[in-house]
Symmetry: C2
Subunit: 514 residues, 2 copies
């Protein structure tokens, strides 16, 4: 084949049309969570199913297969050797499109339609059942989702372990056999740290965080932090939703949401920073690559590294609050006027095993993930049935965190993910924490003034570093390759544990040489 | 053909899929006006173009044509004589689907795509140009739209007058030759009424309406009126946008918008009632017919009759304010506590030629429409070019209303319609006023207690009458047939003029026997 430019161009234009459909579906979902009147739920489920089914059908259409087979060697999944006119980016675009195509082609249109509809419905039932703490109301919907996931695994296939088929959707290349030893080492380190924390005679007092804080003021402060992070409100929004999330319809239209409780300062604050980290990634993707894999986030683990880096490595650091705490005091003089920055920082970093993942501290957070990972694995390996999940949840929570939920609403029903069909998703949260620590360590090496910048409220140098090293590439490199390029190392838990030992040791007053 | 049920069922399921695409596009548009960050405009235009093009392509696909040709005689456009298994509603569904199909088939996919994109862009440029009062900035976009409209007319064809091709899009069957005499009689009656008004020595004082009114309180009162009208917030929303509008994604998810100015009480109030009238129509359509013409509003004229009936025949009546004025006084005691209901009612009905259509009183409103109708006619008959529109606008305003705008923002650029490609749309506003008067006259005959009900704030009997007589049928009857069924009469200006003479005569203190 002499000139690969023409079929590549044709391929990109087809991908663009599909992207428009997917983005319309994303808007339907965003609206469902933020603005849709309750009565609209049933039809919304059908509208979403139609759009996703159409997007899928257009993607697996013979015209796209023909174009890909002009450019790709299906044996290797890589660009043909005679596509020498193409640069590395174009070759990566083809490799990733072929990956997506090969996966999508395994899933029948009819399956996509059923899955989309059931997930949209299950989310609505879940929200209601959770409110009423009624797992039995939710059980049939969850059962349907799990059955659909078994069907999906059969379509997708796997080498080692059926759960790998699901994992691969969110974290390309990740496997159970890779995660299990990583998580074991991490668990060991975290439990050791937790033991130190438990020995501490005078833990931080975090009651100041749970005074009464005006909601409008909380939102205003959240928005201020987002602006300082470089989140562009001319290309983005901040809205309220029951569960904070980020969505994007294009790098020029990225939406983050938060929630706000009058008696809980950290909730809104860290939701804003966390979703802001996701939002910066989406705003930082290459506009010219919109519609192609190079214009998409690399994986959920890398996405989560962006949110957690901002939320924890930055947002729970002393450097950050050196600048922002005096500002926060101006927003809430009666609540915080008499508190020192050190006390406030210690309160933000208090370690305490609790029931709810999204409220967990940095030490216990990953234990919550391990609970979910083991339960999902047991489900997918058919060692447990859906109706027994509430009991298994309590067991695992006791085993990992030494605490047991009384209500299923605070237990097995706390997360939306299963209702979305997102099994295999939770492990990416822990991967995100590990990546974040490695990236942040490297950013501090590359930008020597970073700490001083943050102390002065100058967050743009960090944003620029992330734009330059991570965001701009989309899916050009694999997670492993990206990590290697940036840090020269492979994924490991040590940077994360070392970062935590230092900070928690400082807050709790023990030496961090364990 | 023995059994028409199967192809009819297949047709409806295809129409449903197309409806989902159209509703997704409607959500993209709603979001563009209410929530989209400014930077997202360019991509939004492309997303909209993709969805509308796809919806169009799916509608004119051979499978739909085949199904229709099984059921329809293309010579008459009516259901085949051997489709005796079908009831009248099903036959109407086929007739209207064939009408839509025949029109859609004349328009190339590529044309739809260009039109959608240009309209979405033109709306954004228009908003900016209007803000800056810069017609020249807007001129190239408007020129593009007009050129596209000429192209559209060529595709659609017409019998008499090219403008008829556009009119027919919004008001099936309406023609220039029907509108011109109707408008002439109406103009004569309105000018006569206006002459009486001008002779009046002590016109109502409406300054009380333009005091300072808290925006939140205005919105709360607007919402209260919507609830009393029977607008269902479990299946609807009220949002803010620069220009009030109504959109629907299904009878269970209907959205109205309003705007609110601190120094202008009528603006938010009557936007809420007006859009509420549209919203009730959309919420009142048959859910079971969703996706088919029988689940759609009949025409823009009939749609407007619903909004204007509520806004004017009800919302500017003494009966309405008998109940609502004491409530409004509680919302705004310092502004309205010392005013009588009669004075307030007179202020709401003050007649005064002005520059802005959406703020016009009921007497001069239709003169604004005639200005637009004549200008559009001149444009489409190539008697004037786009660049000369600002001048022609001033001339016509002087001729019809005796007033001339200084700024194009208050003149030729005041309405969004042309940017939306909606030429031929304005006459439906006047038709709506005429229909509204005829419907309301009949509702008062059919429901003898109606006036007393309204005086007590019981608006549901009127809503039910509208649901029963108009909303539930969708497009089952033509406008003419519907009017005939309900009132036993054909469209004429007398009920509207008579209603106005009585009310304005009462407010201005002259006898209404002209």
């Amino acid at each position: 084949m002499s000139n690969p430019t023409q079929p590549l161009h044709a391929l990109k234009s087809k991908l663009l049309e599909i992207q428009h459909l997917k983005n319309a579906a994303a808007l339907l979902s965003w609206d469902q969570e933020t603005h849709m009147p309750a009565g609209g739920g049933q039809t919304r489920a059908e509208q979403l199913a139609t759009l996703q089914t159409l997007a899928h059908a257009k993607f697996v259409a013979p015209e796209i297969e023909d174009l890909l087979l002009h450019l790709i060697d299906p044996a290797t999944g890589l660009a043909n050797t005679d596509t020498n006119g193409l640069d590395d980016a174009a070759k990566a675009l083809l490799r990733e499109t072929w990956r997506d195509f090969s996966r999508a082609k395994k899933l029948p249109s009819n399956f996509i339609n059923r899955l989309e509809r059931e997930c949209s419905l299950a989310q609505q039932v879940w929200a209601e059942a959770r409110r009423r703490d009624d797992f039995l109301q939710y059980l049939p919907n969850l059962q349907t989702i799990i059955t659909l996931k078994f069907e999906e695994i059969d379509y997708l296939g796997y080498d080692d372990c059926p759960y790998d088929a699901l994992l691969d959707t969110y974290e390309p290349g990740a496997t159970v056999s890779q995660l299990q030893p990583l998580f074991a080492t991490l668990r060991h380190g975290l439990l050791e740290l937790l033991a130190h924390v438990r020995e501490c005679a005078s833990p931080p007092d975090d009651r100041i965080l749970f005074q009464t804080y005006d909601k409008q003021q909380q939102l205003a402060f959240g928005e201020l932090v987002l602006r300082k992070m470089g989140y562009d409100f001319n290309r983005g929004r901040l809205d309220l939703s029951a569960h904070p999330f980020t969505t994007s319809f294009h790098p020029t239209d990225v939406r983050v949401t938060t929630r706000v409780f009058e008696q809980d300062l950290p909730s809104c604050l860290f939701s804003c920073i966390h979703e802001g980290g996701h939002g910066l990634y989406e705003q930082g993707l290459a506009e010219a690559q919109y519609g192609t894999p190079l214009g998409e986030a690399l994986s959920l683990g890398i996405h989560e590294s962006q949110s957690r880096l901002w939320e924890n490595n930055v947002g729970r650091s002393k450097a950050f609050w050196t600048y922002f705490f005096p500002l926060l005091q101006q927003y809430f003089p009666s609540q915080l006027g008499a508190t020192s920055m050190d006390r406030f920082h210690a309160a933000l970093n208090k370690v305490k095993p609790s029931l709810i993942r999204v409220e967990a501290d940095e030490v216990t957070y990953n234990l919550h993930i391990m609970v979910r990972f083991e339960i999902e694995l047991a489900l997918i390996e058919k060692q447990v049935s859906v109706k027994d999940l509430p009991g298994l949840w309590r067991e695992k929570m006791q085993e990992y965190l030494g605490t047991t939920p009384e209500r299923d609403a605070d237990g097995v029903m706390q997360d939306v993910h299963w209702s979305m069909g997102a099994l295999g998703y939770f492990p990416t949260y822990t991967l995100g924490n590990l990546y974040a620590a490695m990236f942040f360590e490297q950013a501090r090496r590359d930008v020597p003034a970073l700490e001083t910048d943050v102390q002065r409220g100058h967050l743009l140098p960090l944003k620029d570093w992330l734009n330059r090293n991570i965001h701009q590439y989309g899916r050009q490199y694999s997670s492993d390759d990206l990590l290697q390029r940036i840090t020269g190392r492979t994924l490991n838990v040590e940077p994360f544990l070392s970062y935590l030992r230092t900070k928690i040791g400082d807050v709790y007053g023990f030496t961090s040489n364990s």
